[in-house]
C-alpha cells in the first residue's frame, strides 16, 4: 500500500489520509490537488461561470501533453504527484516540448468560450481601426510591408519576433547594467514570470476573487496565456524557417531559461555595446527622452566605475572591529524532535520543530564581548588620573630628610621656663610687695541660684554625688567641687557617691576627706559609697529606673554592712527610685558623661534637681540644658572663678584663694604667650607678603 510522507514530520501515512497521524498536519490541499483529484471538473466548471465544456477539452489536451500522453480521466487511484526521479528535473519539464509541438494551435475557434470570443472580437475591432494603431506600430508594419526586414514576417506578430530576439539578448546580459533607455523594452514582470512558473499547472480556484482582473486564474489572465502560447508557437514556426539560425531539433525549446531543456547549454552571452543599443528601433516617445538625459560627469563616471569594484560584504576595518561578532552569532542547537517544544499558538499550533517566532538575534542574552573602552567624561578622566597619581605617590619611597643635627627645643624650653616662673612667683609676691591678683568681683549669674538650690535640699534625703572623671582631672574638679560638697556637708545632708569610672569611688573618698579633714565625717552616717556602676549609658538608665537593681555592692562600706547589703544602710534604706534622692550632683569632665546623665535620668528624676559640676572645657555643650526655659539641669558650677564666687557667696573660707594667684599669674603668662605668638604670626605674614610683592614687582 502506498504511503504519503508528511511534509512536516516525515511520518509515513496512508495515501488516503488527509491529515498526518503524527503531527496533524494536512497532507492534501484544501482546494485542489495537482492530479485533478479532490474537486472534480464539474466543480471547476461551476466555479467558472460562462466557461463551456468545450473549453475544457483544449485545456485537457494541454494537460494530457504534460502528463506524457496519458488520457484525460485517468483512473482515480492514479498516483498523485510523480515520485522524484533520479534526475533533478521533473518529468513534466522533460515532456514540455512535446506539448508545444503537438498541440500548438491552441483551442479551436469553435471551442473558445463565449466570453473569450467577445474579447477577441473586441480586440479585432480595435485593431481594425487605423487611427487607434500607435505610430511606432504603424511604422513597424510599414517597414515590414516594404520588405526592409531580413526575414518575412508572416503575421503581424513579426515585431514580437524581433522583440523576442532583443529580449533574449537582454536576458543574457542580465548581470550587466541595463540602460535606462531599454527599460521600456524589458519584459514585464508578468511576462518574465510566466516561463519560470508552471504554465500548465491547474489553476487554483479562488472563488469570487477569480473574476478580478490580474488575479491568476481570472478570464483575462487566461486569455493572455492563450495568446502567449499562440505567439510561442508562431515564433517556433518562424525560427524553423529562418535559414541563418542554427538548426533546431524537435522539441527544442525557445530561449526561455525556465523552459530550457535539461542538458541544453545556454547560449553565449551577447555583449551589449552602444552600437547594438542604438540599432534598436525605439518608439518616438522613447527616442525623444533619450537626448534629454545629461551625459554623466567624469566624477559620476568614476564613481560608477568604482562602484562595482567593491567586494561584496566587505566592511571597513573600524566597522569590522565594532561588529559584535559573538553577540550576533546564531546559537541554534538542533534538538531531537522529541525534545523540541510544541507550538502552542498560532496556525502552527500542535506542531513540533517549527521555527521560532522570535529571531535568535533578538533574544536577550549576555554578550560575551566586553568592550574594553569606557565612555567617560573629561571630569571622570581627570579624577581617575588624580586617583592614579595619588596611588603612585603612595608607592614611592619617601626620602628621609637630611639630618641637620639634633636641634634643641629652645621654644619649648622657653615656654616651660615662663610657665614655671609664673607658678613660683606668686609665692614671692608678698616679699616683692606685690599684692597679687584681685579676686573677681563679677559673680556668675548661675552661682546664686545654685547656692539657693543647695539650701533647699531636704536634710532627710541623701544627695547622690556622681564622680565621673578620671584622676587626671582631679586637680581641677576637686577645686571646683569642694565648695559645693562642703556646703552640703555643712548642712548635714548625707552624701551617697557612685561612679561609672572604676577610679571614681577612691576619688570620692579622697575628696570627701579633703573637704572635711577632721574626724567628724563618719562613713555610713554622713556619706556612703555605692561604688562602681558598670555599663555606661545603659547602666545609668537602669540606675535611674531602679537603683537597687543596678548596684549590687558598695565601696569601702562601714563596718557592720555586708557587701551584698549596701542598701541596708540607714542612709539609703528609703531610696527606691532616683527621685528619692534629695539632689543628683554630677561631677564630670566630659560632655558625653554629662549628657548621658541628663538624657537617661530625665524621665525618672522627677522633682529632684540635677546639678552639674563641670570642667571648663565641657561647659559650652552642657550649658544649653541649663539655659533652657524647661531646665534639665537646674544648677551648674564650672571653673575656678565660679568656685571662688561660690565660697564668697556661701560664706565659706576662701580655701581656693591660694590657687588664685598661681592661676592668675599662669593665665597672664599664657595670655602673654598667645599675644606674642599672634604678633609674631601677623608680622611674619606681613613681611612675607611684602617680600612677595617686591618679588612680583621685580618680575
Amino acid at each position: 500500500m502506498a504511503e504519503i510522507r508528511c511534509p512536516m514530520c516525515s511520518a509515513a501515512n496512508d495515501e488516503t489520509a488527509e491529515v498526518c497521524r503524527e503531527c496533524g498536519a494536512r497532507l492534501t490541499p484544501l482546494v485542489m490537488d495537482p492530479s485533478g483529484q479532490g474537486m472534480g471538473d464539474e466543480e471547476t466548471n461551476e466555479a467558472l461561470p460562462g466557461e463551456s465544456s468545450a473549453g475544457d477539452d483544449w485545456l485537457e489536451r494541454i494537460r494530457s501533453g504534460i502528463g506524457g500522453g496519458e488520457p484525460q480521466g485517468a483512473p482515480e487511484d492514479a498516483p498523485g504527484p510523480p515520485e522524484p526521479d533520479a534526475s533533478d528535473a521533473p518529468d513534466w519539464l522533460d515532456e514540455l516540448p512535446e506539448a508545444s509541438s503537438d498541440d500548438d494551435s491552441g483551442p479551436p475557434s469553435g471551442e473558445i468560450p463565449g466570453w473569450m470570443d467577445e474579447f477577441i472580437a473586441a480586440g479585432e475591432e480595435e485593431a481594425g481601426e487605423g487611427e487607434e494603431v500607435p505610430e511606432w506600430l504603424a511604422r513597424i508594419r510599414a517597414r515590414q510591408a516594404s520588405g526592409e526586414t531580413p526575414q518575412e514576417a508572416p503575421t503581424d506578430e513579426g515585431w514580437l519576433d524581433r522583440l523576442r530576439e532583443e529580449e533574449g539578448v537582454a536576458e543574457e546580459a542580465e548581470e550587466g547594467p541595463v540602460s535606462e533607455g531599454l527599460e521600456g523594452l524589458a519584459p514585464s514582470p508578468e511576462y518574465e514570470e510566466e516561463p519560470k512558473t508552471d504554465p500548465f499547472s491547474t489553476p487554483v480556484d479562488l472563488g469570487p476573487l477569480s473574476d478580478l482582473p490580474g488575479v491568476p486564474g481570472s478570464p483575462d489572465r487566461a486569455l493572455r496565456r492563450s495568446e502567449v502560447l499562440r505567439a510561442q508557437a508562431e515564433v517556433e514556426a518562424t525560427d524553423e524557417d529562418l535559414p541563418g539560425d542554427a538548426p533546431q531539433t524537435e522539441g527544442e525549446m525557445p530561449h526561455i531559461p525556465a523552459l530550457m531543456e535539461r542538458g541544453q547549454q545556454e547560449r553565449p552571452v551577447v555583449e551589449i555595446d552602444d552600437v547594438s543599443l542604438d540599432s534598436i528601433e525605439l518608439p518616438d516617445w522613447l527616442s525623444e527622452l533619450k537626448p534629454e538625459m545629461p551625459p554623466p560627469t567624469p566624477e559620476e563616471a568614476e564613481v560608477q566605475d568604482k562602484g562595482p569594484d567593491l567586494a561584496p560584504a566587505t566592511l571597513p576595518s573600524w566597522l569590522e572591529a565594532m561588529r559584535p561578532v559573538d553577540s550576533l552569532r546564531p546559537e541554534i542547537e538542533i534538538e531531537p524532535e522529541e525534545v523540541q517544544a510544541v507550538e502552542s499558538a498560532g496556525p502552527l499550533a500542535g506542531l513540533r520543530g517549527v521555527l521560532m517566532a522570535e529571531p535568535v538575534v533578538a533574544m536577550p542574552r549576555t554578550s560575551s564581548v566586553i568592550s574594553s573602552q569606557l565612555e567617560i567624561t573629561e571630569r571622570q578622566y581627570a579624577q581617575a588620573e588624580l586617583l592614579h597619581r595619588l596611588v603612585e605617590e603612595e608607592e614611592k619611597d619617601v626620602a628621609l630628610p637630611a639630618s641637620t643635627g639634633r636641634r634643641l627645643p629652645i621654644l619649648r624650653w622657653g615656654i616651660s621656663v615662663i610657665l614655671l616662673l609664673a607658678l613660683f612667683l606668686p609665692g614671692s609676691f608678698e616679699r616683692l610687695g606685690f599684692p597679687g591678683f584681685s579676686i573677681p568681683d563679677v559673680v556668675p549669674r548661675e552661682t546664686a541660684p545654685l547656692i539657693a538650690l543647695i539650701e533647699d535640699i531636704p536634710g532627710d534625703k541623701p544627695s547622690l554625688v556622681v564622680f565621673d572623671f578620671a584622676p587626671g582631672y582631679s586637680g581641677e574638679l576637686d577645686t571646683v567641687a569642694s565648695p559645693l560638697l562642703k556646703h552640703i556637708l555643712d548642712r548635714s545632708v548625707p552624701i551617697v557617691t557612685i561612679s561609672t569610672h572604676p577610679s571614681g569611688p577612691p576619688l570620692a573618698e579622697r575628696l570627701l576627706r579633703e573637704v572635711r579633714p577632721d574626724a567628724t565625717l563618719i562613713n555610713g552616717a554622713q556619706y556612703l559609697h555605692l561604688g562602681y556602676l558598670s555599663g555606661g549609658p545603659t547602666a545609668v538608665q537602669l540606675f535611674a529606673i531602679s537603683p537597687r537593681d543596678a548596684i549590687l555592692t558598695g565601696f569601702k562600706l562601714p563596718e557592720g554592712l555586708d557587701r551584698a547589703s549596701v542598701w541596708q544602710s540607714p542612709l539609703v534604706k528609703d531610696v527606691e527610685w532616683l527621685s528619692d534622692f534629695g539632689a543628683v550632683i554630677v561631677i564630670t569632665a566630659g560632655t558625653e558623661t554629662a549628657r548621658n546623665w541628663a538624657e537617661q535620668t530625665h524621665p525618672w528624676i522627677g522633682e529632684t534637681p540635677l546639678i552639674m559640676v563641670l570642667s571648663a572645657g565641657a561647659e559650652p555643650l552642657v550649658r544649653p540644658y541649663f539655659e533652657a526655659a524647661n531646665q534639665q539641669v537646674q544648677g551648674i558650677l564650672t571653673g575656678l572663678p565660679s568656685a571662688l564666687a561660690y565660697q564668697q557667696l556661701s560664706g565659706q573660707d576662701l580655701t581656693v584663694e591660694a590657687r588664685w594667684n598661681g592661676f592668675g599669674s599662669m593665665k597672664f603668662a599664657v595670655e602673654s604667650i598667645l599675644l606674642a605668638g599672634g604678633i609674631y604670626g601677623a608680622a611674619t605674614w606681613f613681611l612675607n607678603r611684602r617680600q612677595q610683592g617686591r618679588g612680583d614687582a621685580n618680575g
Binding site: 581641677e476 538608665q541 557587701r563 551584698a564 538624657e599 561647659e619 526655659a629
Partner: protein
C-alpha cells in the same frame, strides 16, 4: 621634718611621679616613659580588681557560693543568673580564634542595646527638649517687655533670644549639605543658604574656641594644683619654707 607615715610616703611617691612626668619638658626620656607605663598598668589592674569586686563576684560567684550550684537552674534565677552566665561564657570564647565567632552574640547584644539606649535618650532627653527650648525663645514673654521690666534688660533679653535663634538656625543649615548641581557639575548652595551657613560656621568656630579656652583653663588650673602640691611636699621635706 615630718614624721614618717604611709601618707607621707604616698605624698613623696606622688611628687616623684609628678616630676617624672614633667621631665617631658626636656624631651622624651626614661623617667617620663616609666611614669606613663606605671600609670597605665596601675589603672588597668585597679579597674580589673574593681570590676571583679563590684560586678563579677556579687553577680556571678557569690550566688553560687551562698545558694549552691542548684540555684542556677531555678526558674526565678534563669533570667537574672543563668542567662548572664551563659553570655559570659560565650563571650569568653572570643579568646579562641576558632570559636571567636560564637562570642559575637553577646557583643551584638551589648552594641544593640547600647545603641538603642543612646538613641532613645538622645531623642527624648536632648532633641525634643532642646527643640522646644529653641522654639520658646520667641515666646510672648521674651518679645514683649513685662510689667515693671527695665527697657535695657528687656532689650538685652530680646537681643540674646534673637542671637540664640540665629545661631541655632544657622548652625543647623551649615550641616545641611544638600545643594543644587550647576552645569559645571559643582554643587552650589543658594545665596541665602550660603550666607546662613557661613554665619553658622562662625558660631561653630566660636563654640570650639570657647571649648578650647575652657580646656586650656582647666589645664592651667591642674598645673597650678600640681605645683602647689609639690610646694607642700617640698615644705614638708625642708621643714617649711
Amino acid at each position: 621634718m615630718a614624721e614618717f607615715s604611709f601618707d607621707l610616703l604616698g605624698m613623696f611617691f606622688a611628687a616623684l611621679l609628678t616630676i617624672m612626668v614633667l621631665s617631658y619638658i626636656i624631651g622624651d626620656n626614661v623617667l617620663f616613659r616609666t611614669a606613663t607605663y606605671l600609670f597605665v598598668g596601675v589603672a588597668s589592674g585597679y579597674a580589673g580588681s574593681i570590676a571583679y569586686q563590684n560586678v563579677i563576684r556579687p553577680a556571678l560567684i557569690d550566688p553560687v557560693i551562698q545558694n549552691g550550684p542548684a540555684s542556677i537552674f531555678r526558674p526565678d534565677a534563669i533570667p537574672i543568673f543563668l542567662i548572664p552566665w551563659l553570655l559570659t561564657v560565650v563571650l569568653l570564647l572570643k579568646v579562641s580564634p576558632r570559636l571567636a565567632r560564637y562570642g559575637s552574640f553577646p557583643i551584638a547584644l551589648l552594641v544593640g542595646v547600647g545603641a538603642a539606649v543612646i538613641v532613645g535618650g538622645g531623642i527624648t532627653g536632648t532633641l525634643i527638649p532642646q527643640s522646644y527650648a529653641a522654639a520658646d525663645v520667641l515666646s510672648q514673654e521674651s518679645i514683649f517687655p513685662s510689667a515693671g521690666e527695665e527697657p535695657f534688660v528687656w532689650l538685652e533679653n530680646l537681643i540674646g533670644a534673637l542671637i540664640l535663634l540665629l545661631a541655632t538656625i544657622s548652625t543647623l543649615i551649615y550641616f545641611r549639605f544638600a545643594a543644587r548641581r550647576e552645569i559645571t557639575g559643582q554643587a552650589q548652595r543658594s545665596r541665602i543658604t550660603a550666607v546662613l551657613a557661613y554665619i553658622g560656621r562662625i558660631f561653630i568656630a566660636i563654640t570650639f574656641g570657647v571649648m578650647y579656652a575652657g580646656t586650656l583653663t582647666a589645664s592651667m588650673l591642674i598645673l597650678t594644683q600640681r605645683f602647689q602640691f609639690l610646694r607642700q611636699v617640698l615644705q614638708l621635706l625642708i621643714g617649711g619654707v
